[in-house]
Symmetry: C2
DNA sequence: CATTGATTATCAGTCTTACTGACGATCAGG
DNA sequence: CCTGATCGTCAGTAAGACTGATAATCAATG
């Protein structure tokens, strides 16, 4: 409260970028013990759904490029968290499934990420924190 | 409202990252006619202040690495928007000043960026838009 | 004055992330 | 069978930001 700093005059782009960078750092620290990063956790979360997904279906849902997804699944497979197998109904597709280790990691890493999220939003009240995420969803929901 | 999409379950990191990416795209379009990008506009804004700044002073205020600032000022100088001259009091430093064209660009580009910001926040009410920026400032203000 | 240590701007190299473009394999429709 | 489209893959590229090193300069000290 002593120095007003450059924040007072900061433009929206600066605020959004640095809020993201700040959160990414917190998240990185929280997830480091679980051998995954935030994107890998998001992939695991998607793949844990009820029906099996191909790489590109998962990629589309997450807004990840199809070529980026290759390297991402490569990494998860190297860590034995997921496995690829050809879709019997369409052999162009790879079905990507979580291994047992993948399911364990998903649970533990999700917990760690939730804590990092709460810590990051700690300066806001619980109500403001929840409404903050709602506002972000509103912004992303309008105008594709 | 028909499909709930992946947004409902999206994690904070996803929301922040994609909100930033969405805004960055809007900003890029708005600034393209003015020959600058968002970072360059931020640099111009800082340099337009009352007292002259060296490269590293400006970089520190903007959270930009000193080596990144070299290329950034190179680009602005190539476009004749800023000029370097040695600080007479400390010849290690470069004072970076806006040219007349730089001042014109600053005014026009700021206006365009403000419009992009309003457009991006359009889905929120005016009150919610303002409080959204306040929340971001709160998050960045707590715990550097 | 000479020396030492710190600071400024710069450059070269590296790393991450994500993209484009191309390719073979496979599928669906005529 | 062909043709066109889709899926996964790979090679190459580009942006952005970092590390480490260097020359010039400054401040301070003996």
């Amino acid at each position: 409260m002593s120095t007003e700093g450059p924040l007072a005059s900061a433009r929206l782009g600066y605020l959004l970028k640095h809020a993201y960078l700040r959160y990414a750092e917190r998240s990185r620290e929280a997830l480091a013990p679980h051998q995954v990063d935030g994107r890998e956790l998001a992939v695991l979360t998607r793949l844990a759904g009820p029906e099996p997904l191909s790489q590109q279906e998962a990629a589309r849902q997450l807004g990840i490029d199809r070529t980026t997804m290759v390297a991402l699944v490569d990494g998860l497979e190297r860590k034995r968290l997921v496995g690829r197998r050809p879709d019997p109904g369409d052999r162009r597709k790879n079905i990507v499934e979580l291994t047992a280790a993948g399911r364990t990691t998903l649970i533990d890493a999700t917990e760690a990420a939730d804590r990092a999220e709460q810590q990051f939003l700690g300066a806001l009240g619980p109500a403001a924190a929840s409404s903050f995420k709602d506002v972000l969803r509103t912004l992303l929901g309008s105008g594709p």
